[in-house]
């Protein structure tokens, strides 16, 4: 799955990840553990773009919500598979 998906950072930990700083993002109610190694400034309540287990950039809430609207329109009830899909 070649998609990056927005999520809201709900927790940040300085350790606990093999790649340094880690975080928990909320994606439409699903909690996902990610690495924050590539977004050192990301803080709780920030929106981040998650790709292959890493936050790759922060983005503003309006962009994040708009992206989710598109994803919902495309995937409908199949959103769960979108978050679980093991893609590059």
């Amino acid at each position: 799955m070649c998609l990056a998906v927005p999520g809201k950072l709900v927790a940040v930990a300085d350790t606990g990840s093999l790649t340094g700083r880690s975080g928990t993002v909320d994606m439409q109610g699903n909690r996902v553990e990610i690495s924050l190694a590539l977004t050192p400034d990301a803080a709780v309540n920030d929106w981040v773009l998650v790709h292959a287990g890493f936050a790759i950039q922060t983005l503003d809430e309006a962009d994040a919500r708009e992206t989710w609207e598109y994803l919902k329109a495309c995937y409908g009830d199949d959103l769960g598979s979108l978050q679980e899909a093991g893609g590059s």
Binding site: C2, L18, T19, S35, H51, I56, G76, E84, G87
Partner: protein
Amino acid sequence: MSAARTQDLADQIAELCGGLGRVQIMEVCGTHTVSIFRNGIRSLLPQNLRLVSGPGCPVCVTAQRHIDAAIELAGRDEIIVATYGDMVRVPGRRGSLEQARARGARVHVVNSARAALQLAQDEADRQVVFVAVGFETTAPATAACTPQAPT
């Protein structure tokens, strides 16, 4: 997807294209091209909409010899091959990693380079080979994991 939803989407596409001239859309991914042909999607599209096959992404244009090499490694007793879910379906000369796994090869699907790293820690008596082919956006994640990889 249900037949009703498929028809609904086809109707929406036809409506959107209705006021336009000739519309051309490039498929950015080889899996799009395959899905479009396999599911007969062209037959549902309006006359003025043309789909053009694009160059393919780094995953589906992976050279067959790289897939063959990964399959060969996965067949060895001391090795586990870890890779992304889309990579396991790309065919080499002797099938895909997914097919090799069905024949008993050790192939693990991971959704992140970190998961491959974790697998390497958990499986200390085997070597984990991470087939890191992915989009440009996966390269930094792979790089971030490399210093932690067991040697």
